[in-house]
Symmetry: C2
Subunit: 188 residues, 2 copies
């Protein structure tokens, strides 16, 4: 399964493409950010973003699009633009007949670090570890988009009694300073 | 000048098309609402909305698109969907090479009723009066979209010393129960 993750934004919109299989192993296909000029009006920035996402979708032909869910808890000046960027990602995915799934920031953090309150550094570190990268993708929006794709792969595959993915468990242990956990390593 | 006004929403997205001239007189071309099924996921609702707006744009070929600005002050469950619907309207307008202008709800209310805190009934009443309609467009989202288009026409034409549009002034007087105002009727 190929997943396109989108961390929406107008100034920087992160994208990450991964391939994952049923064992939940995954590999990185592409990662980066789409940028639109801050001095352009929002409607035109949305048009540019639409083109970028559409092009990336045609290039990699993912099976599913995962988009980070935007909340309006804080009325920051950018939250509406972020929500609209997310809307464009959802639109482009659905228009191409793909399933589009939203995941909250907490879900993404919990999926890759084990904690819904992890910081960006921790998320980036785990993304690099899970995908076997020499260093974390930069900027953070790019790493977040990859984390989103990993989150989608793992959440969509969750079934009762299924094994915790080896690589994830290994990564979590590494992250915890190789401290032994009491998790059962069932299914392996 | 032909203006397409959009009062964004997923369940009901109001649209209103008016023709207006430099004297700020205006006439109604089309009004109504686009609806998308509440049991469909947001990405697919956005796709349907995109099609509807695109079709309306091709039908009437407006010179400009006016969209109501969405604020995140209240974290209602619908505010993100409304923001994303607004984003789709902005996208479609800009993608067709049209200027897209946002107006706040207060600006719209002030433009057609004289008060930024007018209620929906008052806005609807004034929309009917300004455009010479037998009754106000329904539902309220449709009337709001027309009000937005009128707001755009009048705000975009504001120049110092220019006349208050006759019809608007007449309508405001009617609305105030024919009470005489002290406004100077300059320029007429």
């Amino acid at each position: 399964m190929r997943i396109l993750g989108i961390d929406p934004g107008l100034t920087r919109c992160g994208f990450g493409v991964i391939d994952g299989d049923r064992s939940r192993r995954c590999s990185l296909v592409d990662v980066g950010v789409f940028r639109t000029p801050a001095d352009l009006d929002t409607p035109r920035r949305l048009v540019l973003l639409e083109r970028e996402i559409e092009a990336k979708l045609r290039e990699h032909r993912p099976d599913v699009v995962a988009v980070e869910q935007v909340f309006a808890q804080h009325n920051s000046p950018t939250v509406m633009g972020t929500a609209q960027a997310a809307g464009i990602a959802m639109l482009v995915g659905a228009r191409n007949g793909l399933p589009v799934q939203l995941h909250t920031p907490s879900e993404v953090k919990a999926a890759v670090t084990g904690s819904g309150r992890a910081d960006k550094q921790q998320v980036g570190t785990m993304v690099a570890r899970i995908l076997g990268l020499a260093e974390m993708p930069r900027p953070a929006d790019a790493a977040d988009a990859v984390a989103l794709a990993v989150c989608h792969l793992w959440r969509s595959g969750i079934v009762v009694g299924d094994a915790v993915p080896n690589r994830w468990q290994q990564a979590i242990q590494d992250h915890a300073g190789n401290r032994r956990t009491t998790w059962k390593e069932g299914g392996r």
